[in-house]
Symmetry: C2
DNA sequence: CGGGATCCAGCCTGATACTG
DNA sequence: CAGTATCAGGCTGGATCCCG
């Protein structure tokens, strides 16, 4: 399953790495949250703003533009009054959503394990500091 | 498949979201690259530094500490001379690697589609700007 | 409603130098 | 070899104001 992984990390033949690119794109603070939300279905700007907890208007706009530029999100403008814009995932976006959802599920399933590890680690370092 | 996703985005009952936590943890510039590299097997600090293209010594240390604190990476010190430290994925880290690898594969498979979308988008916006 | 533009603070990061 | 410490700068992202 890991065949081909080797070349992702350091590629002597090219300065670019597709994984790096992906991370630079959706590794920001909000992209994944927006994609996950749009995975539920088409949604308007204002609805997204309310749905994605903590995001600012500016960052939602910026994030949506980036996702649109990457072909992950489709933007449709309705010439109504007041103006209305609907966002939805493209097929490409849906294909990515599958993997993001898997990652999200992992996060939920292993939440407690990570917290235990963190507790154990901080206890260990605190002890080491005490002995200094 | 998406059952339960709803609560990830906005949770009125708690300020924390496991997905947000995961992203804050491994959504940084280097964590994913290091995990992917360690997916190949145990590796020493200096070897990792050479393998992960572009990372600085400082950031490798910081990244490894964080991954260790989260229980994703195991650190083993050998009391030799000169000192030697080996890093490897924990079972938890391996379970995450599976999904990260899937994401990395997605990135490679859809690289061209994303680039086409970007080209189309920039052409579209350039045209719109021209008409201003 | 759905944005665009601007300003600005904070954090992340890289470079560099030093230690055991 | 495997770190730690310090510092400076760039970029991310939040707040705010304005427009169609």
């Amino acid at each position: 399953m890991n065949d081909g992984v080797d070349s992702w990390i350091a590629n002597e033949f090219s300065g670019v790495c597709p994984v790096r690119d992906l991370l630079d794109r959706i590794g920001d603070k909000w992209s994944v949250m927006v994609v996950l939300r749009l995975g539920r279905g088409t949604e308007r700007f204002r609805a997204l703003l309310r749905a994605v907890d903590g995001i600012s208007q500016r960052m939602l706009t910026v994030t949506l533009r980036a996702l649109e530029a990457d072909g992950l999100v489709h933007r449709e403008v309705f010439d109504t009054r007041p103006p209305s814009v609907a966002y939805s995932l493209t097929p490409l976006g849906v294909s990515l959503l599958v993997h993001i959802s898997a990652l999200a599920n992992w996060a939920m399933e292993h939440e407690s394990e990570v917290k235990e590890a963190q507790a154990a680690f901080s206890a260990k370092t605190a002890k080491a500091a005490g002995e200094h």
